[in-house]
Symmetry: C3
Subunit: 434 residues, 3 copies
Amino acid sequence: MTPTLPPNLPLPLSDATFVLVLVLLLLSPLAIAGVALINTGLGRSRSAAQSLLGNLAIVAVAIVVFALVGATFAGTLGGAGHSIHLAGKPWNWLGAGPFFLGGLSSASSQAQLELLFEMLAVALAALIPWGSGADRVRLTAGCAVAAVLAAIVFPLLAHWAWGVGWLAQLGVNFSLGAGFLDPAGAATIHVLGGLSALAVVWIAGPRRGKFPQGGFATAMPGHNAVYILFGCLLALVGWLAFNVAGAVLWLHAPLSALPGTAVNTLLSASGAVAATFTVTRVRFGKPDASLCANGWLAGLVASSASAAVVFPGAAILIGLIAGVLTPLLVEVLELAVSIDDPTGAITAHAAGGLWGLIAAGAFAPGAGQLLAQLVGVATLLGLVLPLLYLLFWLLNRAVPLRVDPDGERIGMDLHELGGGAYPEFVIHRDDSYR
Amino acid sequence: MTPTLPPNLPLPLSDATFVLVLVLLLLSPLAIAGVALINTGLGRSRSAAQSLLGNLAIVAVAIVVFALVGATFAGTLGGAGHSIHLAGKPWNWLGAGPFFLGGLSSASSQAQLELLFEMLAVALAALIPWGSGADRVRLTAGCAVAAVLAAIVFPLLAHWAWGVGWLAQLGVNFSLGAGFLDPAGAATIHVLGGLSALAVVWIAGPRRGKFPQGGFATAMPGHNAVYILFGCLLALVGWLAFNVAGAVLWLHAPLSALPGTAVNTLLSASGAVAATFTVTRVRFGKPDASLCANGWLAGLVASSASAAVVFPGAAILIGLIAGVLTPLLVEVLELAVSIDDPTGAITAHAAGGLWGLIAAGAFAPGAGQLLAQLVGVATLLGLVLPLLYLLFWLLNRAVPLRVDPDGERIGMDLHELGGGAYPEFVIHRDDSYR
Amino acid sequence: MTPTLPPNLPLPLSDATFVLVLVLLLLSPLAIAGVALINTGLGRSRSAAQSLLGNLAIVAVAIVVFALVGATFAGTLGGAGHSIHLAGKPWNWLGAGPFFLGGLSSASSQAQLELLFEMLAVALAALIPWGSGADRVRLTAGCAVAAVLAAIVFPLLAHWAWGVGWLAQLGVNFSLGAGFLDPAGAATIHVLGGLSALAVVWIAGPRRGKFPQGGFATAMPGHNAVYILFGCLLALVGWLAFNVAGAVLWLHAPLSALPGTAVNTLLSASGAVAATFTVTRVRFGKPDASLCANGWLAGLVASSASAAVVFPGAAILIGLIAGVLTPLLVEVLELAVSIDDPTGAITAHAAGGLWGLIAAGAFAPGAGQLLAQLVGVATLLGLVLPLLYLLFWLLNRAVPLRVDPDGERIGMDLHELGGGAYPEFVIHRDDSYR
């Protein structure tokens, strides 16, 4: 299971391999459906319709904007892209694809599938900040955030990590292992989504009443634990699909390596939820359902970087560590940094993804791969996060992210849609309505 | 992406292609699960258990009746079928298959997969009128409607459009392009289901209190927006499966054309929901979650006719138009024609499907294909709709569609099942209970 | 469709067949997600979060323990296993696999896929007793039950029925047809899970108030019919995946037999729910939604033994009989034997599976196969059930299965998690809280 060098030119796929990847990609929207349900369940009942309608709208915006603009910059259907030369090496930083998916049907089968992967990946990535902005970020702003991700940041990152970009070529140019490896979107989907979530909640601020002056942070439990935990089980299928499809597309893994990738995915998620269950039980006396959901997701996210390149023993260890870190980091973010992230996406997606990327390097033979992974991590934290903050800060000037205080008080459903998700059910009204 | 002529004789499928279609068909019941959830969410809480139990029972009835009777008339496992001669041409109007799936295991792989596609398609089609009859159509009547569709109307249409029937042979006999094209059931599933919904609600009448005398139509919002919108995301996977599998089975599309079909499906749905979101926001000041769900479905339904035969630019345009038409048509049906269609299925499935069928012809090269599609549309509206109305009118004599007024007042769950879907939750009681 | 003799040595799989099975296995967790939702819906609202968190934790424990311990005893990646000699024949009773999935990546493609099948199968099996213990079995105890199943009982059974164990070799050694056939886990997943449920509820006892002294059994309807019935539709996809994948892995069915397996699965489930609907309607005047869900599952479970080896006519008959037996057996267990099984899993999974195993033998040509199946059934009832009872009785000494009475009164959510699944919804409080 040594990571293999991703060749610069796509290989011709056998029909069986083509069929495998195509079916898995058609299955992968279950990750989208699962994450959407988790997003909604972790918000409040008075925002549930707005939350899920936002998930649907954001998927639509991400797909359309990526088709119209983003795919050109990702360069998946195109040629060499744009390079600058520094230190005697080419740094390919921007793709150059055709306009509006031109040439899709005549592209190589590898390139067609890569494009489909990216289109579904950007839709998933764009959902992540929406969950963290629950109960306060406006529909229009959520769609605008998705548009920015799909037009600019995701294409850059996809070109760098999955295409012929500079991160992927760290191996060729600087002998760092096989270059930066992100077989199933740990960086391109999850760290991107999690860092976007961080930037969004930073700019939008916490929910009203979350951090009362001079008091402790208020617990605001998700309004439906069934949506959250069922969403986790549904998401598993989507992750299995992405992880196995990505191993074929970006690692050129042979068929015989793929059951192992699936087994590792199961082991990482299982190890992670077991660890979070145990840690929260020890710390709080009772296990915490929301944090267990975050742990499960963190394990899945970490597996998106590592499942295709490690042995089962490492997969379970990676999951265990992800599951131990999750409740600690959620607590640090909430209590020490006063960040209000209702879905825990910053921890599950950003931290889980970064940990997976490092672990994939650490468990690979030779030090070069770990160094390549660390360059990728540094790029995400040092370049992508500031870029996201800048873009969303500018966006917030034009399209304010946050609803006005009256809207927040009556709930996003009533304010933005004129009606609630559960018009016939009797809901407890709490102080925050007043 | 020129539509190719469907040959009259099934081709031998390669193993990889066989595997692709088989797996997609096993995945396609997610469309059934998604539509069932949408049906239930758009009804009222006091009918939710009856609604979902009906969905399950209808799927069962449709599958069993199709296996016992319908498959014989569809003729998928059989030979030439029955023709009459008119204007010097054969008009093949009825299939002649073996009794109760005889010879299934020895049929060609193409025929076996076609039969499985049809069995799942008829189950999906039969769910559509059930949703529109929500809160007033009886379980037994819903099952009887499903039986009529599975025994008679669906097999006729499947034979005409997918088999060796006269619609499919408009190309061979009258040089109308490749004959009527319905690659993934826009006609055979969705227009059939949507027109059945029209006939059912026409005969059953509106819900009590929907159109008060001398007043405006009463808004009766669905009882759970999460079911509706999550159902949309789940249905997406089922549609991707049907659209890609259908492109192989009925267009004999090569593998390399299939990622494009998936991309087009995503673009049509995305364009449609974006359009409905915008239109409802402009018209009403706020976007409407239910109508957005209808728009998303209308985009998916339109893609079932068109995704396999158009370019991405056309796919998004087809979606946009479907999404603009949806809220307008829902309003016309409700306010101008006083039709009470709780799920909007007449618009999403019938109108969305008709639009997709026309669009598939309009974007094909040459005028013949458009003409073939228009002949199909005319058949659906001029022949199939009256036939459905007649059959359901007769059925209504034997098995009354509508519950008695007392039953409607207390709710379908209490009346038909003796208990509600949510026995522990407190529900608002409104005037319509009295 | 004569059952074919499973060869002792795995055959090399073609790439297309490998891809088929791999994708189906990645899809099969939808059975897990569906059963988890059914489990939760059939419990009470005050246990819903504990129930679903338990499902997630149990999946994790089953997967990790099977990887660490169980897979060694199942012997899937290993060699000949351990045999004793009796009556001049070898009785292979225990596998001998490598430690912690060693050699997974270098194993044959058949063995790799078998291991993945087993890992997902044990997760599904372990969910079944959890559902039956709803509202009273503790999280830790549920995880311990899962660990026992994954470490000991499932591996034994998988080795006997699927591996080179003595049940599978009844054909070779005693000329009983093709040996005990369990193509998709009717025995190994469902009877095992259902008998575990029986042992668990036997030991844990009924819910408080279920069988009041000197009175009739109290009806305790599931708290959400939508979860139950939607779970059934979702589970269908998982069952289709398991049934078709199992037919390839354990019957070496050719591709051309697989659409028939899928059709039979659909017919068994459909026939079963139609029968239960009719029977409950005739008996009680109204159809019963929960029992219909049990009937649907019983039909699916029976198909897991039979779908790959019978004709469509038999498949529907098998479903009908499963659907007729389900409500009768649920009633017998509850009223005659005073067993409190909230999810009906003993009936749906154990009885449905046993019936399917017998039916698969009865519809096969020759008496030998029926005899082989009956030996398997006798083993399950005479050997596996006592073993399960013993193991869980011992477990109950160390980790008490049942919550203390106070915990049961306030509800598992509040007691074990400190908060409910639906914190914002108003719930009816009934007498059992006092």
